[in-house]
């Protein structure tokens, strides 16, 4: 999705998933992989979707503000 800009290593990924699940923003269920192994799948909950929306909006505001703040530098 990010064309390799972000490399999430498992030592950060798993704690993050567990934290989100404990906050009620994710639910998990067990399924089977293509080779029929037990795999855990995570899904966003309603609360999680709401949080995502809020965080996205917040991020949008911040990135626009930072882009504006940096614009004068580009001209010089």
């Amino acid at each position: 999705v990010t064309q390799g800009a972000f490399q999430v290593n498992p030592g950060s990924l798993f704690p993050a998933l567990h934290r989100l699940e404990q906050k009620g923003w994710l639910t998990s269920e067990w399924g089977a992989s293509a080779s029929n192994r037990k795999v855990k799948y995570y899904r966003l909950t309603t609360a999680g979707r709401r949080q995502l929306k809020a965080e996205t909006a917040n991020w949008g505001r911040i990135s626009v503000a930072i882009a504006r703040a940096l614009r004068p530098v580009e001209g010089t």
Partner: protein, 236 residues
């Protein structure tokens, strides 16, 4: 109610982490194994051989124990787990060296006991001594009324006068009464000591200041010399 939803999820996980540790741990192992499998399949589909893909997936996830440890660190209620481990470690260390444990317990016990004893002594002798000369010779005399099962009641004014004139056992005798009184006829009543003897009056006043000033908000302490006369109804 997003707040309660979030609290519910946290609470559920807290209880689960606490009571079903083995289950939670097994699930974590399965989850990571499943992840390695998915990674491997992805690499196979990109054209790797199965053995190479397995090795590459293992390398990518790194040390599984590290990943697990990171997950354990974010679990709700880690502090309780840490506490449990600390207590267990402490108890084991003490059991392993009973001699040391005994000495440690004794040292703590004697230390706490001695400190408390010395402080109580200093507190009563130096910090809060009774405001009387030779306080060890001081005593309180009560009237008794056995028929009504009242071993300690205040002395009746006329009895006090009799005691003062007839009792030889005491060097001197004084009476006092404490209470709220409105002395000016306006405003809030104040805590007041009336006493028949000026040294007793001052002493009682400062004693009362020790014990009452904190407990009666807004009370002003006063003491007043009351001659024995108002205590005694004039004998007609």
């Amino acid at each position: 109610m997003p707040f309660f939803e979030a609290m519910g999820a946290r609470l559920r996980h807290f209880v689960r982490n606490l009571l079903r540790r083995d289950h939670v741990e097994r699930e974590l192992t399965d989850e990571i194994e499943g992840y390695v499998d998915l990674l491997m399949e992805e690499k196979v589909s990109q054209g790797m051989s199965r053995d190479d893909a397995r090795l590459a997936a293992r390398l990518e996830i790194g040390r599984v124990d590290h990943v697990k440890e990171h997950v354990r660190d974010v679990r709700v209620g880690v502090w309780l787990d840490a506490l449990r481990q600390d207590v267990r470690f402490g108890v084991r260390a003490l059991i392993r060296r009973p001699g040391f444990a005994t000495i440690a317990v004794l040292t703590l016990g004697v230390g706490v006991g001695a400190t408390t004893a010395i402080f109580s002594l200093i507190d009563s002798v130096l910090l809060k001594p009774l405001p009387f000369h030779e306080p060890e010779r001081l005593t309180t005399v009560w009237e008794v009324r056995p028929r009504f099962n009242q071993p300690r009641i205040e002395v009746a004014p006329l009895n006090y006068v009799d005691w003062q004139q007839q009792v030889q056992a005491f060097e001197s005798l004084a009476a006092y009464v404490n209470g709220f009184a409105n002395l000016t006829g306006a405003g809030t009543p104040v805590w007041t000591t009336f006493a028949t003897d000026s040294s007793v009056r001052h002493s009682m006043a400062s004693l009362a200041r020790h014990s009452h000033e904190d407990s009666i908000p807004g009370a002003t302490l006063m003491s007043s010399a009351a001659s024995p006369v108002p205590l005694v109804p004039s004998p007609l």
